[in-house]
């Protein structure tokens, strides 16, 4: 890492953009998310546009970093796992059920803490307990 100050500044700035993006796109509204998921009911396709446009810009970043071979202010740390295993599929399936149950995935629910959303204030600590349980399951049985 070349500059710790720049590293922290970029982290904060990236978080800020992420938060504004979640608010502008209205993805912090769990009902909007549930309406996207509910194709055969009150379908609201907004989420797919959020994903598509986010993906496009993110892919430009990936392209840039891969061409340069490294990041500007630190070493590039990309996930190294490549195998498709039962853990990945089971975990993702469980996450999906949880997401569809209440309409919150981790980003939006953290962002919702900003305006004292009582659902988020309950959800986030319980989700962290879930992270801990997930770690334990992984350590003991997998």
């Amino acid at each position: 890492m070349r500059s710790k100050f720049a590293f922290f500044l970029i982290s904060l700035l990236s978080g800020l953009l992420f938060g504004v993006g979640l608010a502008i796109s209205k993805m912090i509204n769990p009902e909007k998310v549930l309406n996207f998921l509910d194709i055969f009911g009150t379908w609201d396709a907004s989420l797919i546009l959020v994903m598509a446009s986010g993906l496009l810009i993110s892919a430009a970043g990936v392209y840039w970093v891969k061409r340069r071979g490294n990041a500007i202010n630190a070493d590039l740390q990309l996930p190294t796992k490549t195998e498709i295993d039962g853990r990945l599929v089971t975990g993702s399936a469980l996450f999906g059920i949880g997401w569809g149950l209440a309409g919150y995935c981790p980003g939006p629910v953290v962002a919702s803490l900003a305006y004292g959303n009582t659902e988020a204030m309950l959800f986030v600590p319980v989700m962290i307990i879930g992270f801990y349980l997930g770690e334990q399951i992984e350590k003991r049985w997998l």
């Binding site: 590293f7 922290f8 970029i10 982290s11 904060l12 700035l13 990236s14 978080g15 800020l16 992420f18 938060g19 504004v20 993006g21 979640l22 608010a23 502008i24 796109s25 209205k26 912090i28 769990p30 509910d38 609201d44 959020v50 986010g54 810009i57 993110s58 970043g61 990936v62 840039w64 970093v65 490294n70 500007i72 740390q77 996930p79 796992k81 490549t82 853990r87 990945l88 599929v89 975990g91 993702s92 399936a93 469980l94 996450f95 999906g96 059920i97 949880g98 209440a102 919150y104 981790p106 953290v110 900003a114 659902e119 319980v126 307990i129 879930g130 992270f131 997930g134 399951i137 992984e138």
Partner: protein
């Protein structure tokens, strides 16, 4: 009922993508929220600190947007607490086992053409839609 809002969706999505690109280009890190929240708890020193700055940014960005735009934040009332708690546990356990959520696998992983992320996204989009559909129409 919520309206289809294509312009705000594209603009908001672009900002989320920009956030991910910025973190990757400068800091070489993946903007995966589930991992960042968990590592904020388990890591120490500056590995914890940058993640705290990032999360502070998310909350601050959302707060700032509502403060400046004058929009009313969405508040849902009367939602089942039991459902909320079950959902939170499943999201927590699932993203740990599956190594990521919508941001890490969706926005970042798909952008890297990661096969694991593609499998993860297809899997969680399927179970999410199934769950939401069953809850609304079958129960």
């Amino acid at each position: 009922m919520t309206d289809f809002t294509p312009y705000s969706a594209i603009l908001g999505g672009a900002l989320i993508g920009l956030a991910a690109a910025l973190l990757l280009i400068f800091n070489g890190r993946i903007a995966g929220i589930s991992g960042i929240v968990w590592n904020t708890i388990t890591q120490t020193g500056w590995e914890r600190a940058w993640r705290l700055f990032f999360l502070l940014g998310i909350v601050g960005g959302t707060y700032g947007w509502f403060l400046l735009s004058g929009e009313t934040p969405p508040i849902r009332t009367g939602f089942s607490t039991l459902k909320l708690i079950s959902a939170a546990l499943l999201v927590g356990i699932g993203t740990r086992l599956g190594s990521g959520c919508t941001s890490g696998h969706g926005i970042c992983g798909l952008a890297r053409f990661s096969k694991r992320s593609l499998i993860a996204v297809v899997t969680f989009m399927f179970t999410t839609m199934l769950t939401a559909g069953v809850l609304r129409h079958a129960l």
